[in-house]
Amino acid sequence: MAEKAKEEGNALVKKLLGNNLTWSIVAFILLVVICTIFQHDFLALSWNTNTGGLAGPLITMLQESARYLMIATGMTLVISTAGIDLSVGSVMAVAGAAAMQSLSNGVNVWVAILIALLVGLVIGCVNGALVSLLGLQPFITTLIMMLAGRGIAKVITSGENTDASAVAGNEPLKWIANGFILGIPANFVIAVVIVILVGLLCRKTAMGMMIEAVGINQEASRMTGIKPKKILFLVYAVSGFLAAIAGLFATASVMRVDVVKTGQDLEMYAILAVVIGGTSLLGGKFSLAGSAVGAVIIAMIRKTIITLGINAEATPAFFAVVVIVICVMQAPKIHNLGAAMKRKRALKAQAKAVAA
């Protein structure tokens, strides 16, 4: 009886060790610990009266993580179909530009938000159409969109970094990025809710399974009556839409779009988040929860860089090291080291026995 319990225990441990999520969470905790060592009140939370919410390092971290959560979620679905969406960063800029520009042109704030989301959706659909209908390669298609997107953002603001912080009636948008719900950053709450919704949509309907099927074996999926083209179109559209939300988060936090900087390099962060979360770039099985944790980790790494006061020159290197460490931690080779050793020894022994 006890034996059995123990065995199950071991099995569980094995399962956990094999699971990326576990390692991501471990990594996250490690980062937090490091930060706390460097800055003892890192975990301290205080109530900030003039923002009406909690304040503290972790809070700003969550605030930043919201945008990563959005693009990482979209990216997860795209990657699951064995595709990739390099345009999310640019889409963020376009959506942000659209929102800020229309605001400063006196458009009602809600309409502005709607416009931004639509723009994102449209770009996503264009990606989707090119990939599914024309059968272009996702990488190059979205790479083009990444180039063009920047341009579109610049065209929208005619090259300016439009600033809508002074525009009257921009509060709702401002609130989305800076406000608080029950003391927790609003954008984080919104992001989490959206992630959960997407998760339900994927797992409670057959959407998730079909996306994975297309990613694993497109021809076989077609033979089961799935319409791969539809699926592909769908995921890119979703990715574009979520990127637009991320764009709103990014620009609304300062009510200003930066046609060059907004969303720059964020596609890479999103992809990292997805991979850290345990979804393979080769497509197939995906884990939104994993990607979400990955997204928060990215924000946490950036937070760590600030907290440790790593100077500008060294940040990329530091970032790289952390990523490498995390990925190595997740490598099965590492998990199985122990087992492998044992097996080797056993086999050696037997081999000797045989030889003798």
Binding site: S158, G159, S253, V254, V259, K261
Partner: protein, 306 residues
């Protein structure tokens, strides 16, 4: 083979062709500056061919430069992303006897022939701007203070120059707790500043020197969110409308202009040179500094082009 063409040679309608090796519209200063130059040359009756690069890639600028040499334009305006690495291209220009005018950033040239190609440099000084920032801090905190510096991307020569300017002049009792890069970006500046404020609560930081307006505005929001508005003086460089507005609203404390409006001067210089007149080697564009009051004036008689 080389028939007449918009780009090729002065052969088209007597209109002189000028090649503009540019950085590209990156908002704020950059956009204002390039638009102004384009406008000015148009007014001066030049035919300006504009060639921007992407993410500050010098290689694309070099390519564009060499192309202009091959196009045999009448003059080249060079707004370089890097201050070195131009010798070969300039030599080509010299050989083709095409005058080169560097704007904004000056370029260092070793080669003698290459030097010949450069007629004149037009632009404000980054070091000067950095010095002004230091002076202001010295003046306001005679008995010392702590603060941060928000830098642009590591390695750009603007960043270095503005930094050098600052450290040349800054007083010994002014302590920079930390310099962080916020990549010229408002939104990154906000996160970074928020982090720094958390981290150095105890040292009670009193100033933030942001190397451009964009970052300054971000910092201001972080300061505001932390409830420190007014307690932390924020100094920025560039002098865009938004910054001046913020200055008036008391979000910023001091703005040093990095005047992008020197299209006229440039066009004039080119014109004079091509007309065989003598042109100064170094045309300094002087910039102003603003505090709340002067900012208000500037905005009211809206003399600001950007």
């Amino acid at each position: 083979a080389c028939g007449s063409s918009s780009a090729g040679g002065s052969s088209n309608g007597g209109k002189k062709t000028v090649g503009f090796v540019a950085v590209g519209p990156e908002g704020g200063f950059r956009t204002a500056n390039e638009n102004d130059i384009k406008a000015a040359f148009k007014d001066a009756g030049f035919d300006l061919v504009y060639s921007p690069t992407q993410n500050n890639d010098q290689q694309k600028q070099i390519q564009a430069f060499n192309k202009f040499v091959n196009d045999e334009v009448d003059a080249i305006i060079l707004s370089s992303t890097e201050d070195s690495g131009w010798d070969d291209s300039l030599k080509k220009a010299a050989e083709a006897e095409i005058p080169v005018f560097t704007v904004d950033r000056n370029v260092e040239v070793k080669d003698a022939d290459a030097k010949k190609a450069i007629v004149s440099h037009i632009g404000p000084s980054n070091e000067w701007a950095g010095q002004q920032a230091a002076e202001f801090v010295n003046k306001n905190f005679p008995d010392g203070a702590n603060g941060f510096i928000l830098e642009g991307p590591a390695g750009l020569s603007v960043v270095k120059d503005r930094g050098t300017g600052w450290s040349d002049k800054v007083a010994s009792n002014i302590k920079v707790l930390e310099s962080q890069s916020a990549n010229w970006s408002t939104d990154e500046a906000k996160t970074v500043t928020a982090g720094l404020l958390d981290k150095y609560k105890s040292e009670n930081p009193q100033f933030i020197f942001a190397q451009n307006d964009e970052m300054g505005l971000g910092a201001a929001q972080a300061v505001d969110a932390a409830g420190l508005k007014g307690k932390v003086k924020i100094i920025t460089i560039d002098g865009t409308k938004n910054a001046l507005q913020a200055l008036v609203d008391g979000d910023l404390s001091y703005v040093i202009e990095y005047n992008p409006i020197f299209g006229k001067e440039t066009a004039q210089a080119v014109k004079d040179y091509l007309d065989g007149k003598k042109v100064e080697k170094d045309i300094q564009i002087e910039s102003k500094t603003f505090d709340a009051t002067s900012a208000k004036e500037a905005l009211d008689n809206n003399s600001r082009a950007y």
